[in-house]
């Protein structure tokens, strides 16, 4: 990671606006002339982490590309809430084509730029979990396999939120969605489902893969910077709580992200060429309950009969902690 490791913890956070840091190390958001790529006028829900993450990702990428960034966006909340004709909340050149094809459209843009000899312009593609792990997976995989010069960012809110919260294959087990209702013998999404796109991306052995959350925006920024310093296919997976789909309060998007990381549910990692290179250790371990309980989509886990599913969640966290050594050898 390219963050500076300064022992004084506060300096790395936004709390002091990065004032103690070198200009170069400051958050893009702390600069007066920040790009504001996703600017006012969008219609995201209150507390939408997808909007927050997109702004940070794009601003960092725009800065890293010296203002020369072209964006391809898949269909989904991010696209719909930002571009209702005759308005657009995007400042960079931005195209939305379809739900399934953002990665391929981005490849087309990169190819055209290459054909025109424009190696000064960078390409970013972005979409939701549905547009990435489900309907768009073939195009994403193709783009990875060819090592096209595209940074692909997936904003994972674990469901098809734009169409009213249906299950995607990134929906975690037992989550209630409109197509996995919390009724019947096994309420919510089936156990044993839910794809790990980070692992799939790593299996393609592309130059750079990382995951991040909105609980640590400086880390998110750092990862975008690192990704932008590399050429070839790169993948960034950002967990973005969705108050509407998760049934959480709009004030909880950050704390839920933190709980997801500190409980071991969402590993924050970096990988290069298929090898894990960095893992964010759990700082203060939380029980999975801290993550699950505030979300209405998991309400049935805390009713009689929910113990089994709850224990499976604990096992899932344990498995992550073991696999990624999230405690760094601590017990």
């Amino acid at each position: 990671m390219s963050t500076v490791h300064i022992p004084f913890l506060q300096t790395g956070t936004l709390a002091v606006g990065g004032r103690l840091l070198d200009d170069a190390e400051r958050s893009v958001q702390s600069q007066a002339d920040r790009p504001s790529s996703l600017t006012r006028g969008h219609r995201a829900c209150q507390g939408c982490a997808e909007a927050l993450a997109a702004r940070w990702v794009m601003d960092t990428a725009v800065e890293a590309a010296d203002g020369r960034l072209v964006v391809a966006n898949a269909t989904g909340c991010l696209e719909v809430f930002s571009t209702l004709y005759p308005e657009s909340a995007w400042k960079p050149p931005w195209i939305h084509s379809l739900f399934a094809n953002a990665a391929a459209v981005a490849t087309g843009i990169a190819s055209s730029l290459h054909a025109q000899g424009r190696d000064d312009v960078r390409v970013l593609a972005q979409g939701g979990d549905g547009g990435t792990v489900d309907i768009g997976l073939a195009a994403v995989s193709g783009m990875f396999e060819r090592n096209d010069d595209v940074l692909y960012v997936c904003y994972d809110n674990q469901g098809y939120m734009n169409t009213g919260v249906q299950r995607s294959s990134a929906t975690p087990p037992s989550a209630r969605t409109a197509t996995t209702p919390a009724v019947g013998r096994q309420p919510g999404a089936p156990q044993g489902t839910g794809k790990s796109m980070v692992k799939i991306a790593m299996a393609h052995e592309i130059p750079y893969v990382a995951s991040a959350t909105v609980a640590d925006l400086r880390d998110l920024e750092a990862k975008v910077r690192t990704a932008m310093s590399i050429h070839g296919a790169r993948y960034l997976h950002v967990l973005v709580p969705c108050p509407l789909g998760w049934g959480s309060s709009s004030s909880e998007s950050i704390s839920l992200s933190r709980a997801a990381v500190q409980s071991g549910i969402f590993p924050v990692v970096e990988a290069r060429a298929g090898e894990l290179t960095d893992v964010q250790r759990i700082r203060e371990r939380m029980d999975v309950e801290a993550y699950l309980r505030p979300q209405a989509r998991f309400a049935h886990l805390f009713k009689p009969g929910g113990e089994d599913a709850l224990n499976r969640w604990r096992a899932l966290a344990e498995a992550n902690i073991r696999r990624y050594d999230l405690l760094g050898g601590r017990p």
């Binding site: 399934a100 309907i135 294959s169 197509t179």
Partner: protein, 409 residues
């Protein structure tokens, strides 16, 4: 029992009572409420002996339906717009293989620009895919058509789309009477597929056909399609006998004065202007035309229920001696005019009919009674141009009050 129900709920419950073996769908507005309702029913057991499969794309939704149908199950799916076009290859494939899948299309515009609201462009893009296309005028018919669709599709070995206007019908709540489980069990024959991937009697489905046989294959598919009109009509008639209400059919007739649906209504006369339309605009036309009739204006209404196969003979019979027609079209053939208009024109070739094309309600623009009366009155007065975009705005797009679907004319 008459009850108050959302259109999507009515469709989902009726489909469940048709006892599908496999339901597989991928969410897209405005179809979502239908598949959400079915997924709840699959969990609660209301949808019995049925596999409900959540897939990762429409292409897979139709493909799962193909596999399920070929393996001997009654298969159902639903989609709209981008989703229908995304599954296009499999849509053609299902028809070519003669698999009687039933699919609800919650009609929606096709992008770009992306638009989630209603028009008929999606199904129209699939008009030559080899599927039956049955259009619902209201939510009662939307529900009922599914029973007819399964019956006709399975008798013909042709898949069927039931098209219902997105949001306008799918999300509207009306007073309806659903066919009960007993009624449907008594009406719809059990699924008995003509070709199955059977361990005991192995068969090959989906062979290649070379230049020496492809034309003949298509010719046979064409002949089958010609049979389809009679089969759809027969099942619709049987439905009317069994349930005591009309649904489906080919070209739909309306009482000249009450504008109520009535299959025994007389054909139009030589003096009549006939408005031809399909889908939910029929209801608005009924309200728009009734007062014109009361004023003594010679206007009649004919609905198209089966768009595929196109009901040439039934349409001509309903039009009677009339040679003056206004087609209200919810899809546009760029550079030409309304899509339905083209079909009506082809059916009436050589009859010397005057046909006006009115393109209305694209991308969810509400179609207003007043606007319809206006355009009909102008056609009667001989002042209507050949092709018209209803309520077309010139000089910029006014901003509607927030939250309101724009209704300004």
């Amino acid at each position: 029992m008459r009850e108050v129900l959302e259109g999507s709920q009515a469709v989902a419950r009726t489909v469940a009572r048709c006892r599908p073996g496999v339901v597989c769908a991928y969410p897209i507005s405005p179809q979502t409420h239908i598949v959400e309702a079915l997924s709840v029913m699959a969990r609660t057991g209301e949808l019995r002996d049925c596999e409900y499969v959540n897939v990762e794309s429409e292409f897979s939704a139709m493909s799962v339906s193909i596999g399920a149908s070929a393996a001997g199950s009654r298969a159902y799916t639903a989609t709209a717009s981008q989703g229908l076009l995304y599954m296009a290859e499999a849509v053609y494939n299902a028809a070519g293989m003669g698999l009687p899948i039933v699919m609800t299309v919650a009609n929606r515009a096709v992008g770009a620009p992306i638009n989630i609201w209603n028009d008929h462009s999606d199904a129209m893009a699939m008009r030559d895919s080899g599927w039956l296309q049955l259009y619902a005028a209201d939510n009662q018919e939307a529900a009922d058509l599914h029973v007819i669709a399964f019956a006709a599709a399975e008798e013909l070995g042709i898949p069927a789309m039931v098209c219902m206007d997105g949001f306008v019908l799918t999300h509207a709540t009306d007073v309806l009477e659903l066919a009960t489980q007993e009624q449907i069990d008594g009406f719809l024959p059990p699924y008995s597929p003509t070709q199955v991937l059977d361990i005991d009697r192995p068969t090959t489905i989906g062979t290649m056909a070379g230049p020496e046989s492809f034309t003949e294959t298509k010719y046979l598919q064409h002949l089958r399609f010609l049979d389809a009109a009679d089969v759809v009509e027969a099942w619709s008639d049987r439905f009317t006998e069994a349930f005591g209400r009309e649904a489906g059919g080919l070209a739909v007739r309306y009482d000249p004065d009450t504008l109520d649906r009535d299959r025994s209504a007389p054909p139009a006369g030589a003096e009549d202007l006939v408005v031809v339309a399909m889908g939910s605009v029929i209801g608005t036309l009924q309200e728009a035309i009734a007062p014109m009739r009361a004023e003594g204006l010679p206007v009649r209404l004919v609905g198209i229920s089966a768009y595929r196969p196109f009901p040439r003979e039934a349409l001509k019979a309903a039009l009677g001696e009339s040679r003056h027609i206004v087609v209200i079209d919810r899809a546009l053939e760029l550079g030409s005019g309304g899509v339905l208009t083209g079909c009506v024109g082809r059916a009436l070739a050589g009859t010397g009919s005057r046909i006006h094309s009115v393109v209305a309600g694209l991308g969810g623009r509400p179609i207003l009674e007043g606007s319809l009366r206006d355009v009909i009155a102008r056609a009667l007065a001989g002042e209507q141009r050949g092709l018209e975009f209803l309520d077309l705005k010139t000089g910029g797009v006014p901003v509607p009050p927030v939250g309101a679907t724009e209704v300004a004319r």
